[in-house]
Symmetry: C2
Subunit: 203 residues, 2 copies
DNA sequence: TCGAAAATTGCAGTGAGTGCAAGATTGTCA
DNA sequence: TGACAATCTTGCACTCACTGCAATTTTCGA
């Protein structure tokens, strides 16, 4: 953790090289025309090594870092905060996630761009949610104990997915204008509007 | 269309045999321990023929029939009906979808059961939404022209997905109690509640 | 500088999925 | 009814993602 060491540095460098190679090749030839062999060759490692770094080809193309949920944000959410309103706090949580996704800005932009033209990869967010399902469920349960609510965990999971996807596609569509957070706010506003306008008497 | 013919009958029979074989084997051995060869053998056809019926192993396990959206329901939605309220009409649309999914009740129940223990298949609904994305978008656009609303198509797509998944998992969790429709209503109610309680001043 | 730990790599193998062409089945129409 | 056409099935050969294993190389710590 403290002393980086050559090992760590090399690992990160290789990883980045693989992501860059994967993204460049896919951007040029399309997802199905690119093989793991090509990516590995371009990054200067063997195909077998590729799989020491990524579970699947798709993971590499998307540059999956798979940071979990930031502990601080998780704790606050579980404790019933920061605002005490479920949807609002869900938005905050997703905001933190998006930040960690977009951490490596260049690569994230590339990933989103590729996602647009390769519908198969659109499931990325679902895969993410899937992988952290257990973690999220625990979070929901913890919060439920402190500040009860009636919604099922499953619905909240899907809400997280909805916010993730709506915000990122909106950001992507805007040509990466503004910060991701404003697109997230917009997604929440849209959701509220859809629901609210269904409740108005004069529909 | 009118005269069924041996061809049609055989096709349906083979298809059903493949789904039954796939579901039985997966229920017993788990998804990864079952190969396409096994399924084909059990259904009495060659492995090559399997792929004349299904694009992927997963499709067979889930018994994907891939009925599109019922034209009548689609027309009504596009025309701005039946209620004129976006969320409510979205619910109706999803209800029709669920009905066509659960058409073959036995197989549907099996599919949902397997889905629960094989998280990879949980993406099924997303795949469905993905495949009908274009169709749904057209529907949204048509309706938008008649009865404008501000939400993005992407958000509506995710809303469809949310309703599909929340309703079916709730149904599954209840041990297939009651009809799917009541679980769908419940999902919508939960969603409304989450949003509404976020708007209340005394949160 | 030496030995332990960790990483890379080749190799052999499984299994999904595809294109193709030959052979079997089924529908149709005279 | 019989033959021709359309449709299905199947075997074969192939590509590629992904895995386990064991040998080899690289890096680290003392």
């Amino acid at each position: 953790m403290v002393v980086t060491g050559l090992r760590e540095a090399n690992k990160r460098a290789r990883r980045d090289a693989l992501v860059d190679a994967a993204q460049a090749l896919v951007a040029e030839h399309g997802l199905d025309a690119v093989t793991v062999e090509m990516i590995s060759a371009k990054a200067g490692v063997s195909a077998r090594t590729f799989f020491n770094y990524f579970e699947t080809k798709d993971d590499a193309v998307l540059g999956l870092v798979d940071t979990g949920i930031a502990p601080a944000a998780a704790r606050e959410f579980a404790a019933g905060g920061p605002s005490g309103r479920l949807l609002t706090d869900l938005q905050v949580l997703v905001g933190v996630l998006l930040e960690s996704f977009a951490g490596q800005h260049e690569r994230a932009v590339q990933a989103f761009r590729i996602m647009e033209s390769e519908p198969r990869l659109l499931q990325r967010h679902m895969v993410w949610v899937d992988r952290h399902k257990a973690e999220l469920r625990e979070l929901f349960e913890a919060r439920r104990a402190v500040r009860p609510f009636s919604a099922d965990n499953e619905l909240l999971l899907m809400l997280v997915l909805l916010l993730l996807r709506t915000a990122t596609t909106s950001w992507e569509r805007s040509g990466h204008q503004g910060n991701l957070d404003s697109h997230l706010s917009d997604a929440v506003a849209q959701l509220i509007h859809v629901v609210a306008s269904d409740l108005e008497p004069g529909a």
